[in-house]
Each structure stands twice: as C-alpha cells, then as structure tokens.
C-alpha cells in the first residue's frame, strides 16, 4: 500500500477511535461543549479526508452524521442512551466501511441511510435540552397531551430540516430563531437577551477601520435575527505550498454558513511585479453562521494550514476569544453585559477554549516502527562496539582513554534506554478499547457495571500490548458474565446495584502488573471442587487447597458457568488466557473472596524485545534459554538416570521422572556422558536438559531468524552476544512438546 493510503488509514482509524471515545465520555458525563466540539472535529476531518481519497460514500455518510452531531451540539442536548447506541452503531458502520475500502474501494452500504434516518428521528423525537426557551417547551408540551396539532408538526418538520441540512435552513420559523437566540445567551431568559442587545447597541469606542465600522453596523442591524456574524480575517502564508488551498477554505465556509461580504485587504501588485512563489490575497469576510466560534475556528484551522486566520464574533457574549479581545470594540463588548449572568458562562467557555487550545494538538510525530527498529538495531550495535572497546582496555591504557571509555559507556547506556523507551506505548492505547466492550456486554447481559481504569499512563512495548488484547478482553468479559451479579441479586445481598470492574496497570521491579478486579460474587471454590470431581481430576475425598482449586480454572476444559452464554463459559478461555500470557513471558494469578469479588493479576515483562536469558554451553557453542523457564540446575548423576528400551530417557528428580533431552544431540553434536542438568518448565510440563555448562545470566535482545532467513524448529529466535556473535535462543515449549510426544508414543506402545 502506498504511503498516502497508509497515512489515510492511520488517521482515519484514530478519528474513528476518537469519535467512539468521545461518545462514551458524553454518555457517561455532562454535555461538555468542548467534548461535543471534539466529536464534531473528528467527524469533520474524517469527512474531509475520505472525500480527498475519493471515498464518496464514506464522506457522504459522515457528512450526515456530522449534521446530526451539529444539531446535538446546537441544542445542547444530553446524549440519550438510545442516541448513543445509534451513534456508536454509526461509528461501527464507518469502521466496517473503512475496512471494505481497502479491498473494494468506494462502495456504499445500504445501512447508511436507514441509520441516519433513525438518528435524525431520535434527535427530533427526544431529549428536551436543558436550556430551551419556554416558548418551545410550551409548544412541545402541548402535543404530548393531545394528538399532534398542525402547528407542532410544522415546527418539528422545521427542526428536522435543520438537522438534515448542514447550515441554516433557508426558511426558519421565528419561533425557533428566538429559541436559538436564547440558547446563545447560555441560559439568559428572553427579557435579558433583549437587554443585552440594547447594551450592545450603545456606541462603541472609535478607532475601528472603516470596513469594520461598516461590518459592525451590519451586525447591529441584524442583531436579534438569530444567526451570529463574524469578521474573518485571512492572511495567507507568504509563500505558496501544496497543502495550502484558499479556495477550499472559502467553499468550506460556504458550506457551514453564509458569506455576506468579502473584501481584499491588500493591493495585489501588477502582474509584472508578482513573485511566482508568493501568495497574495489577504481578505476579510463578514460571515454568518449558526455554528459556535470554536467550531468556525476549528474549521478554518483544518483547511488554512500555514495561513493566519482571525475570527472575531460580532455579536453578544457568545464567546469572547483571545483573538476577539484584541480589538477595542470587543473589549467594550465584553464589559457591557458584565452584570448579566452570562458572564460566568462566558468565563467558563473561555477557560474551556484555552484548555482545549493546549490539548488539541499533541506534541508528537508519527514515525514508522521500522524506523524505530532500525534505530534500535544501530544502538544495539553501538552497545556491542562499546563493550568491545571496554574489554580492549589493558594495563597500558592511559588514564585519559580510560576516563573517555567510562564516560562513553554511561552515555551509550543512556542512549540505549532512551531508544528502548520509544517503542513503549501507554497502556491507554489498549485500555481505551474496553469501555465500549464493557458497555455493550453489560447491556447484553442485563447487568449494571461501572468500569474504572487506573494507571493508563503505564508504558509497555507495543507488540506486547497487542498480544494482551485477547487475554484482557476475556478476563473482563468473564468478570461481567460470571463475576458481577444481576442487579436484583446484588440488591438482595446488600450491594449497590451497579457493580464495579477496575482495570489497572502499574510498573514494579522492571515488570508490568495488570489487574482486573471486580466486586462481584467471587469464585465458588466448592463448585470448582465439585466440577473437578465431575471431570475426574480429583476424588470425592480430596480437599485441595484454595490455590490448587484456582489453578483448575486455568486447565483446558474447565468451566463453572451454569448457563453457557455466547460470551463466555464455553470451557475454553481461561486456559487460553494463561497460555497467551505465558507465551509473553508472563504469568497470571487469581485471588478471590466469596461474595466480595475476584482479582486477576497479570505479570508481564516490560518489553518482548528484551528478556532475561541463561547462557548454556555445549562444546564451543552458546545457546540461550529464557530465565523464566528455568526451574533448577544441578550436576548430572547417572544414578538418577533411567532409560526405557534404551530410548526414552528419564531423570529422577526427587522421585519425579522427567524426560531427558540431550542438548548436544538436539543440535547435532556427539554426546557426552557428563554435564549439568537444567530443569525447564512451561505450561506445567518439565524437561531435564543435559548441557556442558552454564555461561551465566544476561539480558538479551530478541531477534527474528525468520525475517531474513527461515523459521528454525526448536529455536525461538536469536540474539547478539556482547562480543558481536550470534547465539540461538531455544524454544522451550517446542523442546518440551517433542520430549513429551516421544514419551507419549512410548506409553502408547507399552
């Protein structure tokens, strides 16, 4: 895929995720204008980008969605659960369509129109906004009692027309216009708003440009007509660039409102004096739109890259911005209505705008993982070169060289750490997917769940994060399905109806801990015991410890769910979770208290790229095993040795027979009689590996053999040793599988 497409998909996915997060935030909290604006911005950018890539169906659908969001924002409605579900469905649809564009190109989806219709119906039917003119409220109150009087239906039709169109409908009922005017005053009753208008009508300080005076007169004249006006000053970047399209800016503006007047602000030089790469044409607009200044500004920012744009509201206290306060007239304006209650609201909007200005543009750049890997490799090389330099020191090395080497060593170590840190991502990258899943799962199962996330800033290797997605999804689903009780059961037990699931992450001793905790019914150890008996794992008389019983949960084929749901409880799952976590070099444990809840704790390494390894030697060759797999090591004693048919070798370790694997044989070297035994364990199975010696413990950087060569059976990869040589890393699970298959074959023969 070419880089342009890749960039589009990267950004599109971010926007879709952004929309989803904002929707979830809106649903749970207060309708914060800045959050709604963020939603709008995501939809708007998405629309623009998909249109640019020629995905007309996507952009058309997003456009419709954007209009719906706009009416949501304009009327300051709370997001009803119904609307939230519809909007989330729309996001899902966008995601699905986006995925289809990869293979099918620009294709439509019949679901689009139906969903938009549903959203618009939901918008026009429900959600009385907190700030609404009494007039409109009265009008709406009437039809609820009686049927639907003709007046109301025409009103509603108007309202729908507004929602479907983007900007202001050509004909607007004066009723609704009044309502809008009131809303703009944020809660100011109609009487007050007329007061405010009077205040604004008073003459202002002089010093404004003739154009501005004229614009303002216009603005005054239209005061109270409903649609706010702005003065937009556009100063293009001095030089032309490809990203810069003033024409698009104008057409965007036309789409969201109406340009009343336009003036050039500078004289364009005669053709002979034009510089070919310079951009001329600074202009000034009188612009009318029902959108908030923040939106207009966001719109301009998106299209006017590199150019300087000022937006100045010409009306009321709708939103004094930093830009607006620059001009003397605006100062006068913000003083005038100082006694009205709208000042408080004004202050908060300004604060929100200021806060958003800080957070909308993250200070980051997008770098491909390949580049980071290349940097990583280079740094690893420097580390190796450094260790060679360090070991090259001898008694004759002079003091200055020694000092330089020591200093270099420190810097190289720092550099190494910093570069490693680039690969790390905050777990929020993964955690943010779960609120949606919890919401949907809980709704499906009729449970009430409050989902909390903690420590989302904890950082983890990107590949590791991806691999944790499935296990965590499973654990959280389990917590909702099996952990959290239905609301009535919770009430009976004196618990709050809404259960809590808490997902938290923290770092400790170079490892990452991830915890899934619920305040549900806990694990019924007696039921686990009964199930184990039923499965024939233990007998009636066995009463294993709590830990052993919990361990059963992770065994294949175990499920205590009385009722098999389509979400969990199919008997597969926990064993898969355990295996996944272990394959990442991690571990999982569980604690539970009957009636109080369950806690799953995952321990994973900080990064997959680095692991603690134990160096093993046979002849002059050097191999690595992950330290996490090593149980113990001891001198090999032939008395412990048993061979079945001289073929299936076993070692007796304190009464337990463990299959013996000779590393020399495994790597194709002649066998030796003596050596060391290293007991390796994975997934509960062990082998005894016979080696010549142990070369010590070291941190190793995991490298792929497959990337340039091929998969080599029995080996998980390779690493580079301190002296620059390559050592292969043994695949412990593969070794164990081979050994146990052999013994099982023997068992079958016997």
């Amino acid at each position: 895929m070419d880089s342009l497409m890749q960039l589009f998909y990267d950004e599109a996915n971010e926007m879709v995720e952004g929309m989803e997060q904002v929707l979830l935030a809106l649903e749970s909290g207060e309708p914060d204008p800045e959050t709604v604006n963020a939603l709008f911005r995501y939809a708007h950018s998405f629309k623009g980008n998909s249109a640019a890539m020629g995905f007309t169906h996507l952009s058309k659908f997003t456009h419709g969605l954007e209009s719906a969001m706009e009416s949501l924002r304009k009327e300051q409605r709370a997001l009803t659960p119904e609307l939230a579900t519809l909007m989330l469905q729309a996001v899902d649809l966008i995601r699905a369509m986006l995925e289809r564009t990869r293979t099918e190109g620009d294709v439509g989806d019949p679901a689009c129109d139906a969903l938009l219709q549903q959203i618009n119906n939901a918008l026009s039917g429900t959600g009385v906004s907190p700030v609404q003119s009494s007039l409109e409220r009265d009008a709406q109150a009437t039809p609820r009692g009686t049927g639907v009087p003709p007046v109301q239906s025409s009103l509603e039709r108007d309202a729908q027309a507004t929602q479907r169109g983007t900007g202001v409908p050509p004909v607007q009922s004066s009723l609704e216009r009044d309502a809008q005017a009131t809303q703009r005053g944020t809660g100011v009753p109609p009487v007050q708003s007329s007061l405010e208008r009077d205040a604004q009508a008073t003459p202002r300080g002089t010093g404004a440009s003739p154009v501005q005076d004229m614009l303002e007169q216009d603005a005054q004249a239209t005061q109270g007509m409903g649609t706010p006006r702005y003065r937009i000053v556009y100063q293009p970047a001095p030089t032309l660039s490809a990203e810069h399209d003033p024409l698009q800016l104008l057409s965007e503006l036309q789409e969201y409102g109406q340009v009343i007047e336009a003036h050039f602000r500078e004289q364009i030089p005669p053709v002979a004096q034009l510089k070919p790469d310079a951009c001329y044409g600074s202009w000034e607009l009188l612009y009318e739109t029902a959108f908030e200044p923040a939106i207009v500004r966001a719109l301009l920012e998106l299209t006017a890259e590199g150019a300087e744009v000022r937006v100045e509201p010409l009306q009321g206290a709708s939103e004094p911005s930093a830009a607006a306060q620059e001009t003397p007239t605006q100062e006068a304006q913000s003083v005038a209505p100082s006694e009205t209650p709208s000042v408080a609201a004004t202050a908060t909007t300004a604060a929100v705008a200021a806060a958003s200005a800080g957070k909308t543009e993250p200070q980051s750049i997008r770098v491909s993982t390949e580049k980071i890997d290349a940097l990583m490799n280079l740094v690893s090389e420097i580390v190796i070169a450094q260790s060679m330099l360090t070991s090259a020191q001898n008694a004759n090395t002079d003091e200055r060289t020694r000092a330089a080497i020591t200093q270099m060593e420190r810097h190289v170590r720092d550099l190494h750490e910093r570069v490693m840190a680039i690969r790390l991502l905050p777990v929020s990258y993964l955690f943010n997917r779960f609120p949606r899943m919890v919401r949907d799962t809980a709704a499906k199962l009729g449970k009430k769940v409050n989902f909390e996330i903690e420590g989302e800033e904890t950082e983890l290797d990107r590949t590791l994060l991806e691999s944790l997605s499935d296990p965590l999804t499973h654990l959280i689903r389990n917590a909702i399905d099996h952990g959290i009780e239905p609301p009535d059961e919770r009430r009976r037990n004196g618990k709050p109806e809404t259960g809590t699931i808490k997902l938290s992450a923290y770092q400790s001793e170079g490892r990452i801990y991830i915890e899934v905790r619920d305040d549900g019914r806990g694990i019924d150890t007696e039921r686990v015991r009964q199930k184990a008996i039923q499965l024939g794992w233990i007998t009636e008389n066995d009463h294993p410890s709590e830990e052993t019983l919990y361990d059963f949960l992770f065994q294949p084929g175990f499920s205590t769910a009385q009722q098999v749901s389509d979400l969990s409880g199919r008997g597969v799952g926990m064993d898969v979770v355990k295996r996944n976590v272990e394959s990442l070099g991690g571990s999982i444990s569980v604690q539970s208290q009957r009636g109080a809840g369950t806690r799953f704790l995952l321990r994973v390494p900080l990064t997959l790229a680095i692991m603690d390894g134990l160096g093993l030697t046979v002849a002059d060759e050097h191999y690595i095993v992950p330290l996490t797999a090593v149980v113990e090591a001891f001198q090999y004693d032939s008395l412990q040795h048993t061979a079945l048919f001289d073929q299936y070798e076993m070692v007796n370790v304190r009464g337990e027979f463990i299959p013996l694997v000779r590393l020399r044989e495994f790597v194709g070297l002649p066998s030796e009689r003596d050596g060391l035994i290293v007991v390796l364990e994975q997934e509960g199975q062990q082998i005894a590996l016979l080696i010549d010696g142990i070369a010590g413990q070291q941190q190793v950087v995991l490298k792929s053999l497959e990337e340039n060569f091929t998969r080599v059976p029995g080996f998980a990869g390779a690493t580079i040793l301190g002296d620059g040589r390559v050592a292969l890393i043994l695949d412990v699970s593969d070794l164990i599988r081979r050994a146990h298959q052999a013994t099982e074959r023997y068992a079958a023969i016997a």
Partner: protein, 165 residues
C-alpha cells in the same frame, strides 16, 4: 491532513552504455562469476557464523549484520566444491533477494565490470542439472568468460523453508 505524494524510487542508472549493467565479479575455482551489483548491499570481511542446527551443509550459519540476523551461504559448497579455509581475502557479499538479506561467502572478490546485456548468451549445458539453475547466462568480456549467477536460486528460500517442516 498533511499528505505527501509518494516519491517514485529513483533508480539511477550507473551504466554508461544503455544496455550495459554493472556486475560484481569474482573467482570460484578457475571460473569467473558475476552477480548484479544492484542486488549487492555491501561486502564485508568474513567473521565466523553461528552454526544453525539441522540446516543444509551450504548454510554456514547466521551472522549479525548491524543488529539483523542474516544467513551466510558458502558459494563453493553450494556449487558442490570442497570449501576452502578462511583467508584474509575471504569475504561475505551481502545481497538482497525477495526482501530477504543473505550473505554469500566467497574466497575473494575481484572487480566490478560493465556487462553488455545484449551479448549475454544462455548457459550452455556444461554444468549438471542441479547447478544449471544457479546460472542465468554467460558472456564474453574481452578475454574473460563471465558466468552470471542467479542469486534467487542460490539462496533458494523454498528449499530452506523445508527446514521448518
């Protein structure tokens, strides 16, 4: 959104003659062989490779190429000749074929030559069937006969993947 147009790969033709291509040439035994210079990434002195258990005999092992693990193939063993011990002149030619980077161990490299492509002739059936596929043609340049090699066949990834089976 800032979209930069993907720049077309600028493959500069380093040849003077329109139909000539640069080849890296070297001696194996008494013959002169050549590989397309465009496929060659670098030439480095040979450092002992780490043996890969159960690999075919011509795979000497794996080495560290700036943090990447690459396999090294011994050219002589690949052509069925007895290997020569490491000398100071022993090199590894690092080449890229099908997105994979390989090393080819050679006794020495001698030169870079312009090979007039229109004079390349199909390989005469001098070699056995097995080695025939490693060759892509022969060409007479002055007094030397250069045998052009097909690196894709020499590194034969298909055969290597049988390792994994």
């Amino acid at each position: 959104m800032t979209l930069t147009k993907p720049t077309a790969e600028t493959t500069e033709t380093t040849t003077t003659d329109a139909n000539a291509e640069k080849y890296l040439v070297f001696q194996i035994g008494n013959e002169t062989y050549g590989v397309p210079l465009l496929q060659v990434q670098e030439i480095r002195t040979y450092t002992p490779a780490t043996r890969v258990p159960n690999a075919p005999n011509y795979v000497l092992g794996v080495i560290n190429l700036r943090g990447n693990i690459i396999a090294v193939i011994d050219a002589r063993t690949r052509f069925g000749l007895p290997p020569l011990p490491d000398e100071e002149s022993t090199v590894v030619v690092v080449a890229q074929v099908n997105d994979k980077v390989f090393g080819l161990r050679l006794d020495s490299v001698s030169d870079v030559m312009d090979i007039p492509m229109e004079q390349v002739q199909p390989t005469p059936p001098i070699a056995s069937e097995a080695t025939q596929r490693f060759l892509s043609g022969v060409v007479q340049v002055g007094e030397r006969v250069v045998i052009l090699l097909n690196l894709r066949e020499i590194f034969d990834i298909d055969a290597l993947s049988q390792l994994a089976a």
